[in-house]
Amino acid sequence: MCGIVGLLLKDPAWDAQLGELLVPMLVGMTERGPDSAGLAVFGTPLTEGARLSLFAPGGPPDWQGLMDSLQLRHEGRHELRATGAHAVLVTTADPDALKQYLHAQHAEIAVLSIGRSIDLYKDIGTPAQIAERYGFSALSGSHAVGHTRMATESAVTPAHAHPFTAGRDFCLVHNGSLSNPHLVRRKLEPLGVRFETDNDTEAACRFLEWRMREGDDIDAAIEKGFDELDGFFTFLIGTGTGLALVRDPFACKPAIVAETDDYVAIASEFRSLAHLPGVKHATLFEPQPRTIYSWRRA
């Protein structure tokens, strides 16, 4: 069992409240996922450069030392905003080169996400603890994807927590379990797709992102996913432009959507939506099985 939540604000006037609206959604899913949680927030895209979410599972590293070595070895402007063991690095340097450098020289630091608009947080603990630890309530943005995990098939570590990312400005959270992640992985690895964990959800995330890099739009990628990915799933996908939601053909895992003129909110259960402003008059529906739902920020 796991919990998923998502929120897309239709009106930019609400962007400053994204975190405040989202934290009770995440905390509402604690019973479905008490062992770890994560959140991806999408904000206004950078006009130049890239943003990387960095995380040191072992505790806050020497962020200033890291900045000093980056300034010395990588041309460009670097800005770092750290919150404990987590930091967002905005840089004009090549993010892939930086990721390789960090992997080689600062193995204690993991790169959680790369893009122009995504910031990503994930850690072990209850959703309330993690939201407090990284100040989720103060986060702003246009849309967000969150997850609370109850591990069933691989270890409880920050790396195994959701959301999973691949490529740029792309993340996926999953409620359910896949029965053929290793098969998917064996298909992708010879094509140069690299995996970071043994988690089943990572296979789905990398498969869909690989299809989109090959030219599919998100709907076409998910259609291919129906053929390739076997198991139970509700997937919620975040991209720089919006959210996409899909349930397996047997609707084994729950989802409910509330839509108003101001937002689209998604959760595993209504109890994570009950606090949202105007939800009593929202259009509420359960997504049909094997049907793709997507929403874009207008």
Binding site: F250, A251, P254, E269, F270, R271, S272, L273, A274, L284, F285, E286, Q288, P289
Partner: protein
């Protein structure tokens, strides 16, 4: 029951207080009705009630609302999540909105009315209760249903009535596909009478004449070694 109406606000009191009251103190107080405010999707609201009391849930309910119900008349003025009235024994559970998966699963008796749509697996393993759905039902509804009746005023998804035993389905709209061993049968006078009573109980308008009957062909009742696992 002629005591004062009892109210619970789940924004202020716990679900356990409500259910403890329903299971223990209600028999002594004999309230005219029980009202539950701000259910906000909480699980197991009014589960295991064993008293002929009216319970109104004013909002959306979570998993298993009215589960194992005996005698109570429970109305959810909103939607219900997974497993509404699961394993109900008697009484009436009414969902004014839509119901999620496995509504009325393995219910033995009583009546579950869903005024909106029901999701997949509605009435799975039904054991004698009646379920009346005002809207449509999802796939695999009445899967392995053993006894009781499922009335569908709208359409049905795939594999309706798969591996049915002696339960009977009345469906008004389109059926995407019938499950293994389910077949359309003629409506008999007794069917029109029974369906008329069920629709009246549910307070739904359609005429019994608009329905078709789905029942078991009973070809799976006996193991057929020659079937080669193809049914």
């Amino acid at each position: 029951m002629n005591g004062p109406v009892r109210e619970f606000d789940l924004a202020r009191s716990s679900l356990r207080e409500l259910n403890l009251y329903l299971h223990r103190d209600l028999a002594r107080e004999q309230p005219a009705a029980v009202r539950v405010f701000n259910p906000d999707g909480a699980h197991s609201i009014a589960c295991g009630v064993d008293a002929a009391v009216d319970i109104d849930v004013l909002g959306h309910a979570g998993y298993y609302v009215g589960g194992m119900n005996k005698h109570a008349r429970i109305t959810v003025h909103g939607n219900a999540s997974t497993g509404a009235a699961e394993n109900m024994m008697s009484g009436l559970v009414r969902i004014k909105g839509f119901a999620s998966t496995s509504a009325g699963a393995s219910a033995h008796g009583g009546c579950l009315v869903i005024e909106g749509d029901a999701s997949l697996r509605c009435g799975i393993s039904l054991k004698g209760a009646d379920i009346v759905v005002g809207g449509s039902v999802g796939s695999f509804s009445a899967f392995m249903a053993q006894a009781g009746r499922l009335v569908i005023c709208g359409d049905a998804g795939d594999a309706l009535g798969d591996s049915l035993y002696e339960a009977v389905i009345y469906v008004r709209g389109a059926v995407k596909s019938l499950g293994a061993d389910a077949r359309i049968e003629d409506m008999l006078p007794a069917d029109f009478d029974a369906l008329g009573t069920l629709l009246e109980t549910a307070g739904l308008a359609p005429s019994p004449r608009e329905f078709r009957k789905v029942a078991s062909a009973r070809s799976l009742y006996h193991w057929n070694a020659d079937a080669n696992q193809e049914y």
